[in-house]
């Protein structure tokens, strides 16, 4: 059972405390890891939370790949360590080359902030241990650049390898193939635009994020 989760903070990250609270509410341990350090403090899993790493300058996530901690996260991921990128964290993972494709501005040019229904497409990854394919979850989105794009070849390959983790049932942002989340070949690195840490209590309107975070804790 994974016990300790490192939650990465870049300058401009703003969802680290929500994420830490959510993990602690599930009896996991969580602590902030500063982007300027190499030390992952022996955590069992990494979350790159939402926000605006390095002010989203140049492109969302583009500057973050130069942060020292990304070198360590690269090695951690290659060794099979569980890594979850949420929203801006997903953008960081694509820019860092840990996940394919890119996230461009929403079709419709609107910042979207709403509860969204997503469906598990593949559960063969660190978020899927408590779920079965076809499960539908209510998880909020909160983004301007969430329109997932990749080449047709990459899409075909990901479909063949069961790497599309979530799809929107009602595509809000124009994402290719309704993609809301994907994973790497090994299934230990997942990126998703919706925010599971904001769907962890009835007060927030949904508790569907809990099963995803519990799965990460058990990965």
């Amino acid at each position: 059972m994974t016990q300790r989760v490192g939650v990465v903070r870049f300058p401009g990250t703003n969802c680290e405390f929500d994420t830490i609270d959510a993990i602690r509410s599930l009896d996991g341990e969580a602590e902030v890891l500063w982007h300027g350090q190499y030390d992952l403090k022996n955590v069992d899993a990494i979350v790159i939370p939402g926000g605006f790493a390095h002010g989203d300058y140049l492109r969302c996530g583009a500057i973050a790949k130069f942060s020292p901690i990304m070198d360590s996260i690269n090695s951690f991921a290659q060794d099979g360590g569980p890594v979850l990128g949420i929203c801006n964290g997903f953008q960081v993972l694509t820019e860092a080359g840990l996940l394919p494709g890119a996230l461009q501005k929403n079709a419709g040019m609107k910042f979207l902030c709403s509860m969204q229904q997503i469906e598990f497409v593949s559960t063969s990854n660190v978020l899927g241990h408590q779920s079965t394919a076809g499960d539908r979850l209510l998880i909020p989105i909160n983004h301007f650049e969430g329109n997932y794009v990749c080449s047709p070849e990459v899409l075909t390959q990901m479909q063949a390898e069961n790497r599309i983790v979530f799809r929107y049932t009602d595509n809000p942002n124009g994402s290719t193939a309704d993609i809301a989340g994907i994973c790497n070949q090994a299934g230990n690195v997942v990126g998703m635009m919706p925010h599971p840490e904001r769907a962890t209590s009835h007060l927030l309107g949904s508790t569907d994020g809990n099963s995803l975070l519990k799965s990460l804790l058990a990965a």
Binding site: L58, R59, A62, T94, E95, P100, G101, A102, Q104, K105, N106, A107, G108, M109, N147, V149, C150, S151, G174
Partner: protein, 83 residues
């Protein structure tokens, strides 16, 4: 030698450019009914030290492919302006 270089980063052909489409839809309101295919990108200007104009260009092209543009969604055009 110092070279002044201009980089134009634009959305790749076939990639939706919602910003351009939005501007395109707004132009007719001002009477500009003949405008089409509006694409929005960005311009980056920088100075580099290199032995020749060609060297300056290839240096900045390398920056583009690895950092200044995201080849998944963007094209880049490098122009060396002056020494």
């Amino acid at each position: 030698m110092h070279f002044e270089v201009k980089v134009e980063v634009s959305p790749r052909e076939g990639i939706a450019n919602p910003e351009g489409s939005t501007i395109e839809r707004a132009l007719p309101a001002l009477g500009f009914v003949t405008a089409g295919n509006v694409r929005v990108g960005k311009v980056i200007r920088l100075q580099v030290e290199a032995d020749s104009s060609d060297d300056a260009k290839s240096l900045v092209e390398d920056m583009c492919s690895r950092f200044l543009s995201n080849p998944v969604i963007e094209d880049s055009l490098v122009e060396v302006l002056e020494e």
